[in-house]
Symmetry: C2
Subunit: 373 residues, 2 copies
């Protein structure tokens, strides 16, 4: 089956399982998953909603702002495309009419309550007084949690190329360069290998690196500094990558090397223990335990997440997520530790296989600290 | 007064005017406006809320995820910083406790109903059963609509540097280059002049350019093609730029030149007519009328928007926005027309002055079509 067919089949199965008359996708990732298109302005201009209504009977409909008509027509695999004129129509009113046309005005309708705004929700409830509404955020999470082989190929390729781009960026860095210089080289390498654009990019050196999400600026690389990056790019098909590494400028001190190798050994130990049936919260606890055994301070609320069309997808490795790991899930394992000279961070992609797990993202030997310049 | 003092004074005035006991900022732009800090993950990981509760009496509080502690401590001008542990605490529960501590559990509380999620809203209403809640999206819009001189300086500088970066990107483009090559040169020029990162970047040539928000890909520049870009960068202080232009590859045909100059004349005519007291909807109608007079098809739902910490701020130039223009408002005027060979688009920053208006963004003579390569 194609990605489109699998997405539609899984959504229809969920409609049956949860006795729903319709499910409405409204977050960018779920719209992309159900319709095959991604509207950038759903993020940069949040009032400009895109939504997909998938009824139990009949064709799914994509509701889009007419400004995005080129994207909807070229990219979406859906054929029922319903445009609204921004400001003349309110998109949530268009959804209410669509649900009525789909025969769901008296029905049980699943909504993304973590995403739909309170104002739009109130207006929808008022427009469809006989309908009942149920949260389906976790249902969509569940649908997307186990990846198809095609999705795994896309994600693994994206992660490997991101790993290689980080290595290339570090390799080209020189003492005296600014963070922005290094960041530009890394992004150029990722784009050279097929990435479309930056999703997120932490890159910082020295004291600047203590901010978890510090972005590249004019700080220059100085000998002895730790250089940390966490790079996420958007790839064809709108899948994301998310890989983190550190390097050391000019030289690596024994203390730096020791902390680096400790974190690396946590990563290897926890990653290789992952297997089907283990709980997501077990991975968190295993990581915390390994930190303690090796003598590293642990203060993380989570140590990793699933990834796909969204960045932090569920399941996640935090103490309250008791989802069992399943074959075909794809995780980013990312322990982080606060050193005296900055944050030490490593993030790799790990696939849950039938018998255990395997690292998908590494393209170089990161077991020894990398020294740049 | 400093930006911080002005932001706080305006918010307190709004609390009095609207008889509110507290206003809660939850969108990235309003959190940045009221607290002076911007958490990138509020966009990339939407469940990781940041919020500011500003009570009528007492100190405003910034609620942030502890992962973002470095950003909160270094950037925010607020001193009441309340961190929550992701997954252990639900941020909306932390807000409910904060509003109770601030003496607002029985009060009238303003919320961003366009931004707060339906799920969080329901949980907040249940946690504070004696409070009443009112939408304050438009109140925040109004507070931020007239910019301070310091904000105007920041925005004008960002727009001018973006205009110059577009010109530099076009100037370095060559026949056979890919869209990605041109995009990288443009972004590098913007970063060289002080931009921190890309906010949005449309760049497309040939048939690809018919998509309103087409992003740079591997399409190559061919003689005779129109090349369009709409570039928004993030600048220090988290203010945004947003400038659009077209150029022509290798040569410009008489038909292309004619359409370019028609659009340019619309831009000059509508821009120079803007003045205090004119309605935002008047600008839309004036633009539509000028399109008709000059013989261009008009099918736009809006022709421009305010800008600041957010991209599309209100007032906006659409037929339903009857806000009067005021001295100190900053607009992006951006008519767009569909040519036979792609979209023609121009977007400039215009300041409303005491007596009329002036263009702030242009750093080059764009009156004649620019030919690249």
């Amino acid at each position: 089956m194609s990605t489109k067919e699998i997405a539609l089949a899984k959504t229809r199965d969920a409609l049956t399982e949860h006795r729903l008359d319709a499910m409405v996708a409204s977050s960018p990732a779920n719209v992309c998953y159900t319709a095959g298109t991604f509207f950038r302005t759903m993020i940069s201009i949040p009032d400009r909603l895109g939504m997909v209504s998938v009824p139990a009977d009949g064709e799914p409909a994509l509701i889009y702002c007419t400004i995005e008509i080129g994207h909807a027509r070229d990219e979406s695999w859906l054929t029922n495309l319903v445009g609204y004129t921004e400001f003349a129509d309110r998109p949530i009113d268009v959804l209410a009419r669509m649900l009525t046309e789909q025969g769901c005005a008296d029905g049980r309708i699943g909504l993304e309550m973590r995403h739909l705004s309170a104002g739009d929700y109130e207006r929808l409830v008022a427009a469809l007084p006989r309908a009942s509404f149920v949260p389906v955020d976790a249902v969509f999470d569940r649908i997307r949690a186990v990846k198809t082989p095609a999705e795994i190929d896309l994600l693994a390729d994206a992660a490997r190329k991101t790993d290689a781009a980080i290595r290339a960026g570090f390799a080209s860095a020189r003492i005296g360069d600014t963070e922005l210089d290094v960041a530009a080289a890394m992004i150029a390498a990722a784009q050279e290998s097929g990435a479309l654009k930056v999703h997120h990019h932490t890159l910082a050196t020295g004291a600047h690196g203590f901010k978890t999400h510090a972005e590249a600026g004019t700080t220059t690389l100085r000998p002895g500094d730790v250089l940390r990056t966490d790079l996420g790019m958007t790839w064809p098909g709108h899948y994301l990558s998310d890989v983190a590494h550190v390097a050391f400028v000019g030289e690596v001190s024994p203390a730096q090397s020791e902390m680096y190798k400790k974190l690396e050994s946590v990563q290897q130990e926890v990653g290789s223990a992952m297997r089907p049936g283990m709980l997501a919260s077990d991975v968190f606890r295993q990581c915390r335990k390994t930190f303690a055994e090796i003598g590293l301070d642990f203060s993380l609320p989570h140590v990793g997440h699933s990834i796909g069309l969204g960045l932090h997808e569920n399941p996640m490795f935090h103490p309250f997520d008791d989802s069992p790991l399943e074959t075909g899930m794809i995780f980013m394992l990312e322990p982080l530790v606060r050193g005296l000279d900055g944050l030490y961070h490593v993030e790799d992609m790990i696939e849950i296989t039938e018998t255990g797990s395997r690292v998908l993202s590494r393209t170089a030997d990161w077991s020894e600290p990398m020294v740049v310049a």
